[in-house]
Symmetry: C2
Subunit: 478 residues, 2 copies
């Protein structure tokens, strides 16, 4: 059946990156703007990407000893208010429930913007002894933050995520957990999503409400802007004190435990799109692509072609690959464009002459390379080509990140880079929040992180001229 | 490490079934009563059961062509009001959001009690042609209904579920889908949860708000009460008309499509507990048990015992089984009681003499049978024993259902059964709602379903004495 959908061109990235992004998200049917203002529908293709990311994360969480749980959707106001910094950070963007059925609630409740308070409330009732620790919990859910303006995947009023919450007997152990989970995230970004990462600590100004430390992964998008891609927080014993969570240690003396939390959301899908996409649409990293291979029968009316194409599809599926076949009566050109738009990593064309020669033609979405592969080793060869596509995607993104990360020592240098080149700028920093504020005002960039690696470019803070203890990375962020 | 937890006895089922249920749910650490009133925490063991049920359902949904999506959490009031019967049914139990941050909303929004209106809103924007049909969607999420009184798993203000929503070109196709998904549910209940089912149609009085037909699966609990265990709804084109969803058919004439929805929730876990549990605690159906086998080293201080026990555990794990080992220094008696309480289907004891003889001892949670099995074929034998446990659980539950399903032809007979025996009562029925109301008033039972199978016990309705066209099953329900 011929598809009647209007194959509209998408806006070129170079003409209007924001419009390109919106075009891709809607044309590839990842998202629909819901009739409920500020909310989005994740359509099957978009949700399937999330399911594949979930599977990769969930396996790693379980391998590192974490257990999934489910906490309530609502938080009563008094519970939210127990930790002072936390409520200050989140209350202004909470959605409030005031009526249950026809009755006005005695105490209003917010829809969880994040669930630290709920985990603490549970632990205060259930943790008693050092034997109960550590608690290594995770929750898959959605959270709600009443954003003024929204963009698909990048900023939703409601977004899907996982939130890990853990409780430990010592600060050291909690810090190790915070860093371990950042590494798990980095592993998924690099080895699954083919996105190189910049890891570091957030400044006090940028850290999570209530945290002692926030670790972050920052990625560079195609337009050289930064995407804060996930975070991991160390809370010290602040929440434990606020919620009166104590445990008896081995000497039977009461102690406050130490807490962490860490989250990874559907925002990552926005990162995938803006890292790998091109003017033909999405480019899906092979390891999370809902469809890794599309088989296109060429001259499918000729005897035996459809049968051979289906056999090939079945053979690839049996090898554990995610495969579709396009048997529609659309033209080959239309099909190529459509599956390119949807970012399918590998297209395999098979026609009468291929079948005669016992081969088929694999075309990579990443760089258009055509590879003739024998039909009888197609599954193995397809896997190699998918791995190669992943590597190429990573390498390209890494080159872009490296090329567009520059050091600077003076405000003039910084301003020149911002206006002429964009990207990340590494400088020294005195550690003073006032200099972050001034940097934003004067150069239009915010601090992305205090990176784990890299040398300090100078000994003085380019903003105030005072002695600089730290290295910091600046950028324009989503 | 010795566990300091107070091993409290649970109330006997016969003494107080409701208290037995609460004891099991809390002592087995399935659930914690949240500090947020009316809400529950699903703890790791409880959530793991749900994850296993999810995996079984999700695989079946995908095998029958369904795709997962994610719809918004909130429904604006005007959207909820589009279908008259639906809003009448659900508005009284909605939680209402009236503030976003510090601003009062122009239009209040409810937290989804179910998502028909959201799927319809999406389809009204995206469905155009017969080529777009059918839409076979599913969503994993939680929904919220402001219940006055709650019970773990059975009645939560918020509960986890899946809701399937589908859209079809013809009524026939939609009805087939409604019935197909009921069969998928029955398959999971019988072959995964080891729970026999009674399938049928709900009466008009009991059907879902807005549905033309509601199909139901009713299960009988240990106390002979009925649990409505899941439902599947056929909506006709009512929602399509209310939301103005139309498609161009092959002759290019505009038509209204036909809709279904079907849901399966964490309530099923309550059903599992009340079907299979006993005075020693939970009895988990092997196919969803978070831990299928617990290995208990006996005299573990003796050389080689712990090593052999761990090897056995690893061997069982490699065979794809879910296995724990209990290496704690609690007494064997304490360990046996604890893992029985948690319903682990198979306990494998291994001590010095067993190791010498190349065997171990498997003890079934269902009936306490001890089986000596050779260590070198342990995985295979364990699988057989788990399958046998499943069969025995099903057979026992089926016998209870059959024994406690009785026919009756007069009100006196019905009342006698209700007061002296309990269980399900099959009678003839005139089809009049007034007779359902009277049956509830006079005999204290409600209609469970119009069953698919079984003969009509008489030709007249026992309530009104009029001619009866239908067969109906009555019971006391959770």
């Amino acid at each position: 059946m011929a598809n009647t959908k209007n194959v509209e061109q998408i806006t070129s990235m170079d003409v209007d990156f924001a419009q390109w992004y919106t075009d891709v998200v809607t044309r590839a049917e990842l998202i629909d703007y819901s009739g409920v203002k500020g909310f989005f529908v994740l359509r099957p293709y978009g949700y399937a990407i999330w399911e594949n990311i979930q599977a990769e994360l969930d396996r790693r969480f379980k391998d590192t000893g974490h257990e999934n749980v489910s906490m309530p959707l609502l938080i009563s106001e008094s519970l939210l208010q127990k930790e002072k910094d936390h409520v200050e950070g989140f209350a202004p963007e909470c959605a409030w429930v005031t009526f249950g059925g026809e009755e006005e609630l005695e105490e209003r409740m917010c829809i969880r913007p994040t669930s630290e308070t709920l985990f603490c409330d549970h632990w205060a009732r259930t943790v008693r002894s050092w034997r109960d620790l550590p608690k290594l919990y995770n929750q898959w859910c959605s959270v709600l933050r009443w954003e003024k303006s929204t963009r698909p995947f990048l900023r939703h009023r409601e977004f899907l995520w996982q939130e890990g919450h853990t409780l430990h007997a010592t600060a050291q152990e909690a810090i190790e957990e915070t860093e371990r989970m950042l590494d798990v995230y980095a592993d998924v970004y690099e080895n699954i999503l083919a996105m190189p990462v910049l890891k570091g600590l957030k400044t006090d100004k940028e850290k999570f409400a209530g945290a002692e430390r926030t670790y972050t992964i920052e990625c560079m998008m195609h337009d050289k802007k930064a995407l804060q891609s996930c975070t991991s927080h160390y809370f010290g014993d602040g929440f434990a004190r606020a919620f009166d969570i104590t445990f008896a240690d081995k000497e039977n003396s009461l102690q406050y435990p130490f807490e962490t939390s860490w989250g990874f959301s559907t925002r990552s899908i926005g990162g995938v799109i803006m890292t790998h996409g091109d003017d033909n649409g999405l480019v899906m990293p092979p390891r999370i692509a809902p469809v890794q291979i599309v088989v296109i029968p060429v001259a499918s009316h000729k005897p035996g072609v459809l049968e051979s194409a289906r056999e090939l599809r079945d053979e690839l599926k049996r090898a554990g690959l995610r495969v579709n076949i396009d048997e529609s009566d659309n033209s080959p050109g239309w099909k190529f464009a459509e599956h390119e738009m949807r970012g399918v990593p590998l297209r395999i064309e098979i026609g009468p002459r291929d079948i005669e020669a016992g081969k088929c033609v694999a075309v990579s979405r990443v760089d258009g390379t055509k590879t003739e592969i024998p039909i009888d080793t197609a599954p193995e060869r397809a896997k190699q080509l998918l791995d190669a596509a992943h590597e190429l995607m990573y390498t390209r993104a890494k080159a872009r990140l490296d090329e567009n990360t520059r050091t600077a020592t003076t405000m003039d240098e910084i301003k020149t880079i911002v206006t002429e080149k964009g990207g990340f700028i590494t400088t020294a920093w005195c550690g003073d929040e006032a200099c972050e504020v001034k940097m934003k005002e004067d150069a239009g960039v915010t601090s992305r992180c205090i990176p784990f690696e890299g040398e300090k470019p100078s000994e003085i803070c380019p903003v105030c001229g005072k002695k600089a203890e730290k290295t910091i990375v600046w950028g324009v962020a989503y």
